[in-house]
């Protein structure tokens, strides 16, 4: 081993030290190497400094397989619980890499922050609706939202928030990326990381039967509901993008007909999101109590609930557009969207960008020669 250390030794947090302890046991055992990328990545190391712990923790999909299969799981005195140890560190990495730095504390009170954001978003739009005189219980010609909130007003509210979200997440992941010193990303590595992320490869259990939820049985439920959620989110996002193009490029203002592209995308996306988040919420309630970090449940559930509310209120809005409930439904929907956007960089959504970064590092790293050649 190289004696003269070039990497400064950063003291480990308690959560990082636990991952270090657990992975030292795993590295001497290695029975779980087939489940996911964490174990093959681990075998390239003999020790686990802070940056490696952060990287490996974000490579973990919290699938639970290595807990149910662990011969050293509690009540064994070694008390190995990889998914839980990893989840705690992930929580710390989200907070520790948050941008601006000071806002990292928002993670600690995530449930509260979410509710406040939701309440203020709602209040904002209700007050605006009242101020624009019509109030929030009235019929609107042709279901035209812009009669309630003019397009310009919506853009002036959402565009800065959206820009901030993108900036905050980009800065956070950049900070994380630098910390884990990943090396050069080649085309094939990027392609593989993207595929793994889009397919949620590591929720297949390594044998295609899925991961663990309530017990040692394998199930594809989480992978599927996550797909519904993620692709539903993308479809809704695409709907917004197409609508924006229509508006600015072609000068076709909303509302659009049910068979228009933005509507089709939005409806499919909304339904998919509702199915996905309902499924994920249900799985989260039934999850084996020792998987993951119980302290992060408010964050997980808050995010799932907010996504569900955003999608379902969007669908409701569609249904009530010709009734007097339109302005109210619009306020609820916009309030939820606003809350969702405001909290994206400081909630469960962050796992997406950190995980993709970790997957990319793994895709890069596995293409490099392994310097630890222990043989068998």
């Amino acid at each position: 081993m190289a004696e003269g250390r070039v990497i400064p030794i950063v003291p480990l947090s308690a959560a990082q030290a636990e991952v270090d302890r657990v992975l030292t046991i795993c590295n001497a055992c290695r029975y779980c190497e087939g489940f996911c990328a964490v174990f093959p990545a681990m075998t390239r190391r003999l020790s686990f400094p802070a940056a490696d712990v952060d990287y490996l923790a974000n490579l973990c999909h919290n699938c639970g397989a290595c807990l149910h299969a662990c011969q050293y799981a509690p009540p064994h005195e070694f008390a190995v619980n990889v998914p839980q140890a990893m989840a705690r560190v992930r929580g710390e990495t989200y907070a520790g890499h948050a941008w601006p730095r000071a806002l990292g504390v928002l993670y600690q009170r995530n449930g509260l922050v979410l509710s406040l954001a939701l309440a203020s978003g709602l209040a904002l739009f209700l007050v605006l609706a009242v101020m624009r005189e019509g109030g929030f219980w009235q019929r609107v010609d042709g279901g035209n939202f812009y009669a309630v909130f003019p397009h310009g007003l919506m853009v002036s509210l959402f565009a800065p928030v959206f820009a901030f979200v993108v900036l905050a997440l980009a800065m956070a992941v950049r900070h994380f990326w630098r910390g884990i010193s990943p090396g050069e990303a080649s085309g094939p590595a990027v392609g593989e990381a993207a595929r793994d992320a889009l397919r949620l490869r590591y929720l297949d259990g390594g044998h295609g039967e899925g991961c663990n939820e309530a017990d040692d049985r394998y199930t594809l439920a989480r992978r599927r509901f996550h797909h519904f959620t993620f692709y539903g989110f993308l479809l809704c996002f695409a709907a917004t993008c197409v609508a924006t193009l229509y508006h600015y490029l072609f000068g076709w203002p909303a509302p659009y007909g049910v068979t228009s592209l933005p509507k089709l995308l939005g409806i499919t996306g909304g339904v998919s999101l509702v199915i996905g988040t309902a499924g994920l919420g249900w799985l989260n309630l039934k999850r084996h109590p020792t998987h993951g970090d119980v302290a992060q449940r408010p964050m997980d559930r808050g995010f799932i609930a907010l996504l569900f509310l955003t999608a379902s209120s969007g669908l409701v809005l569609m249904l009530v557009r010709s009734t007097a409930a339109l302005p109210l439904a619009l306020c609820v929907h916009l309030g939820a969207v606003m809350a969702l956007f405001l909290t994206l960089p400081y909630g469960k959504f962050a796992h997406g960008v950190f995980r993709v970064a970790a997957l990319l590092k793994w895709a890069i790293e596995k293409r490099q020669p392994n310097t630890v050649g222990v043989g068998e």
Binding site: M1, T24, I25, N27, A28, C29, R30, Y31, C32, E33, G34, F35, P40, T43, L46, A65, C66, H68, A69, C70, Q71, Y72, P75, H76, E77, F78, G206, H207, E209, D216, R217, T371, V372, G373, V374, G375, E376
Partner: protein
């Protein structure tokens, strides 16, 4: 009354229960351990040795029957029943599909160890995942499982099984399979078997048990007392040298020390006692437990220098580390002068050729006793590391004599409805020695045979009785 009673809850018991149930018998399984400790030694296993004539799913090349048999013959020094051994070997070639049908999953050997990917199929997630899969399957098929039910005696009548008892509880059945493991966690029995040595020590008192604390051999002893035929020697067991700081029970795989062949091993008197470079470590793995058991205090230290780091499986506990050999001796509590004499003699005797820890290389010692025949590099590059070793018992070989139907024998006569599988009879095949993965080959083959035999016996009785 239930048709088949299965005593035990590990691999052999599960194989028997599943086969009996598939044959149409009603099955009750009695496991001594609580649910969270279920499965005995089986949650600690990693792979299964499999014969195959051509590449097959996770197995590369071929490992034909004859080669498997020769390997077994070599490690056992002939202490094996060829008929039963060949039965197990052949069964190992066809059991994987059946295992898969009950949810067991195999994985390609990712560590790229070609020689093990040829002979052994690795379980995805290891033995605990296998045990979980079998329990799920058993539950689905309607096998009843009772945990925390340690059977302490059987009711027998003229060599036939009548009932099993756990304290006040009595379980009658038409047939029974015994698969309650060896006696490795019965400290008194180990002590008695190993006795007192010339130094006045009781060596077994210093043994660690790598597996389950529930394999106490209560039934084995009871059956031998009842006149069942036994086979094997109570001091024979799979014993490896493991980290002396390992827990007393269930230390499992991670407490192994893999650097023995890369350095030297000294005993409490700071002297070497065996050729550390005799052969590849996986082949020699299972002899070091007994070697250490014969040393004073049943302890030894594996010493390496910086050159070895990264070339062996990372140890679970950090070694004692020092910047010079005398300092290492002091930290390990070994006599510094003797230690230095041993190390200096070794270093001076090294005839370094081309070091390669993946082949039997030409680095050896000259004029040294005991010699180190391969991988002999001088220990000269600080920091130095020392790992204390103790004997770790994997499982014992003394068991019940059996035949190709897995029947328990009384005075040479096979019982009509009492069968045995797994560690409780592995000694029929493994009189001594060990070759990786063969415990599961024997347990799976005989577990399945015992389950089938028991179902047949029970269903026959159902027709006639």
């Amino acid at each position: 009354m239930v048709d088949v009673l299965v005593v035990g809850g590990g691999n052999a018991a599960l194989c028997a229960a599943l086969m009996a149930r598939e044959a149409g018998a009603s099955v009750l399984m009695l496991e001594a351990a609580p649910r969270e400790w279920r499965g005995g030694n089986s949650p600690h296993v990693r792979n299964l040795r499999c014969m195959h004539d051509a590449p097959q799913d996770v197995l590369v090349e071929a490992y034909p029957e004859e080669e498997f048999w020769q390997d077994l013959l070599k490690v056992t020094g002939g202490k094996t029943d060829e008929h039963l051994a060949r039965l197990a070997i052949r069964a190992s070639s066809s059991c994987r599909d059946w295992m898969r049908s009950h949810g067991v999953r195999f994985q390609p050997s990712l560590s790229g160890a070609l020689h093990t990917a040829r002979t052994n199929a690795f379980f995805m997630g290891g033995g605990k995942a296998l045990v979980n899969a079998y329990y799920r399957s058993a539950e689905r098929l309607g096998v009843t499982v009772r945990y925390e039910t340690p059977i302490d005696r059987l009711e027998l009548q003229d060599g036939r099984f009548v009932a099993a008892c756990a304290g006040e509880r009595r379980f009658a059945a038409k047939a029974c399979v015994l698969a309650a493991g060896g006696f490795e966690s019965n400290r008194e029995w180990l002590r008695e078997a190993w006795g007192q040595n010339a130094r006045g020590e009781w060596p077994a008192d210093n043994f660690l048990i790598r597996g389950s604390r529930f394999n106490r051999g209560v039934l084995l002893k009871h059956l031998i007392d009842c006149g069942a035929d036994a086979i094997g020697d109570p001091t024979q067991a799979h014993m490896v040298a493991i980290d002396a700081r390992a827990p007393l029970y269930d230390g499992g795989i991670c407490t192994r020390i893999d650097c023995v062949s890369l350095g030297v091993v000294v005993n409490r008197e700071a002297k070497r006692f065996y050729d550390e470079g005799e052969d590849f470590w996986p082949k020699r793995y299972a002899i070091w437990g007994r070697l250490v058991a014969q040393q004073p205090g049943q302890i030894a230290w594996s010493i390496i220098d910086a050159k070895a780091v990264g070339r062996f499986m990372p140890p679970v506990f950090p070694g004692v580390r020092a910047d010079s050999l005398p300092e290492l001796a002091r930290q390990l509590g070994l006599d510094e002068a003797t230690f230095m004499r041993t190390l200096e003699a070794y270093n001076a005797a090294c005839r370094a050729g081309t070091f390669d820890h993946t082949v039997l290389d030409d680095c050896h010692t000259e004029g040294l006793t005991p010699a180190k025949t391969h991988w002999a590099l001088p220990l000269d590059t600080p920091p130095f590391h020392g790992y204390a070793l103790k004997p770790g018992v994997t499982f014992t070989y003394l068991g019940l004599k059996t035949n190709e139907h897995a029947a328990v024998h009384f005075d040479g006569t096979p019982s009509g409805n009492l069968f045995v599988a797994g560690e409780m009879m592995a000694g029929n095949v493994l009189g001594q020695g060990y070759t990786a993965g063969v415990g599961m080959s024997i347990g799976t083959a005989f577990g399945r045979i015992a389950g089938t035999s028991a179902a047949r016996a029970a269903l026959r009785e159902r027709v006639h009785g």
